[in-house]
């Protein structure tokens, strides 16, 4: 018997020849597979195309601040609204700055935001059609319970000045959200530039910012609703809670439908009316966490 010793390369070529022969026999099968692959792609594309008409035309796109979504209140309000007005609703939760941008670009139909000064600019630039504040709560300055720079009892402005003067760490949102805008306004009110060494910007949402502030035992400004959600997870305590400059007003805005023809201004108007109704006010007033109401409606709730 002849014994042939093949080196690795020859073996590889031999196997390749085998596989080529095999493949020439199975070309038909391969053709079928390619055809199948191609057809599937075409089908997928068709599905993609056929899927679009039923999507946005009747759907309402809401750009909202994260605090209303994260608190769970918006889901509650939407579930009631949908019962009377069946429609498809998309909620995009972003900071107030980003929400106003989405409105300005006509990418959202309705906005829920909390930065009164920016809202005024938005309205006077004719980006919005209707504007109404519908609920409020408070901003609070949180810090370590030992309160190392003694801001308890101070006004919000004095507290910030004190933190800056002592160069104690302070975590800012730094993300152009409503809370960040308010913080900057508070600094401006006391003519103080937040540029001291221990001032840091997290660039993240309120929840993450609270976690960072807690780890660094720093001071920070938060909205009431997010603080209550995180109360059990952090050691920081509310230190400054009073003062008209800490009022946190949430407004609803319908986007100017003149921006583009895809804006669903009819459903936006209906939801706007709903949010400013006494029915919604009752849901807002009843919405509690840790037995504390998260928001106060600005409309008188309907009496049952």
């Amino acid at each position: 018997m002849m014994h042939l010793k093949l080196d690795a390369k020859q073996e590889r070529t031999a196997s390749a020849i085998g596989s080529i022969r095999q493949h020439m026999q199975t070309t038909n099968m391969l053709k079928k597979m390619l055809l199948f692959g191609g057809l599937t792609t075409v089908c997928l594309c068709l599905v993609a195309c056929s899927k679009q008409p039923d999507l946005p035309s009747k759907s309402l796109r809401i750009a909202t601040t994260t605090s209303t979504r994260d608190s769970g209140l918006l889901d509650e309000l939407l579930s009631v609204f949908i019962q009377d007005t069946p429609c498809d609703i998309s909620v995009i939760a972003v900071g107030t700055g980003a929400a106003l941008k989405l409105g300005e670009q006509g990418e959202a139909d309705l906005l829920i935001v909390h930065a009164p000064n920016s809202e005024q600019q938005f309205m006077s630039a004719k980006h919005g059609l209707r504007h109404a504040p519908f609920m409020k709560n408070e901003f609070i300055i949180l810090g370590p319970s030992a309160d190392p720079v003694n801001i308890r009892q101070l006004s919000p402005g004095e507290a910030l000045q004190q933190i800056a003067a002592e160069n104690h760490s302070f975590i800012s949102r730094g993300d152009d959200s409503g809370t960040h805008k308010r913080e900057l306004e508070l600094w401006e009110d006391v003519k103080q530039h937040p540029d001291f060494e221990a001032y840091h910007e997290s660039g993240q949402g309120m929840g993450n910012t609270l976690i960072i502030a807690n780890q660094l035992q720093a001071y920070t400004l938060s909205d009431m609703a997010t603080y209550l959600r995180f109360r059990d997870k952090i050691d920081l305590v509310p230190l400054v809670t009073n003062g008209s400059s800490l009022e946190n007003r949430y407004s609803v805005i319908t986007v100017n439908p003149a921006k583009n023809d895809k804006i669903n201004s009819e459903t936006a108007r209906q939801f706007f009316t709903f949010l400013t109704s006494s029915k919604a006010a009752e849901i807002i007033a009843d919405y509690q966490l840790h037995e504390t109401a998260l928001f106060t409606p600005l409309v008188t709730p309907q009496t049952p």
């Binding site: 390749a16 070309t27 792609t41 999507l55 909620v91 997870k233 895809k262």
Partner: protein, 231 residues
Amino acid sequence: MEMILAGIREAIHLLISGDPLVWDAAWRSIWVSSTAVFIATILGVSIGTFLARHRFPGKSLVVTLFRGAMGVPTVLIGLIGYALLARQGPLGILELLYTSWGIVLGEVLLALPIIVSLTHGGIKNLDQRIPETALMLGARPLQRWSTYLSEARLAITLAILTAFARCFTELGIAMMVGGNLKLKTRTLSTSTTLETARGEFPRAVAMSLILLLIAILITVVIAWASREERE
């Protein structure tokens, strides 16, 4: 550390109780990334094989561009996808922004350079005698291509697996183009981010663990399938 243990417990609980939000996000993650990888494979394997077997001016530039594109951050693809698909963007007419198909489109862009580059490398690496032999035996173009693919199947399987792993776990595109809409475009990775922002850490860990579990399962299935093919 307690958080991770709580996360494992929560993951088991969520899987057993069949939480609809988890199943929805898991199914969307699987569907979106498989569809994207499927489309990218058809396109990418063709382009990669073509680049490996044909010469044309500027070819090395194209190859370099595809290789460079493997490192594009997903957030940038998300931003480009947003700009293209926005109501006022050039593809706004398709109304794909904040839909699953929009995410698929972005992930195709993510997967394509990976599949093109790795397929190109795998076929380029074949023994030069294989194409010569195929040609000598009179294989027609389609038969030659199928020979290359069959000989480079390990490289191609790895290309598909890498692309899948990247798509399945990516966050930037799903967040920017998908918008993290509840029950519409929420995936396991955007759920993880959301639960973290909400301070629901065990739930966030659980979502990630489920993501990891599915990724491993799918990898095993693909590896097993490509081994079977060998016999």
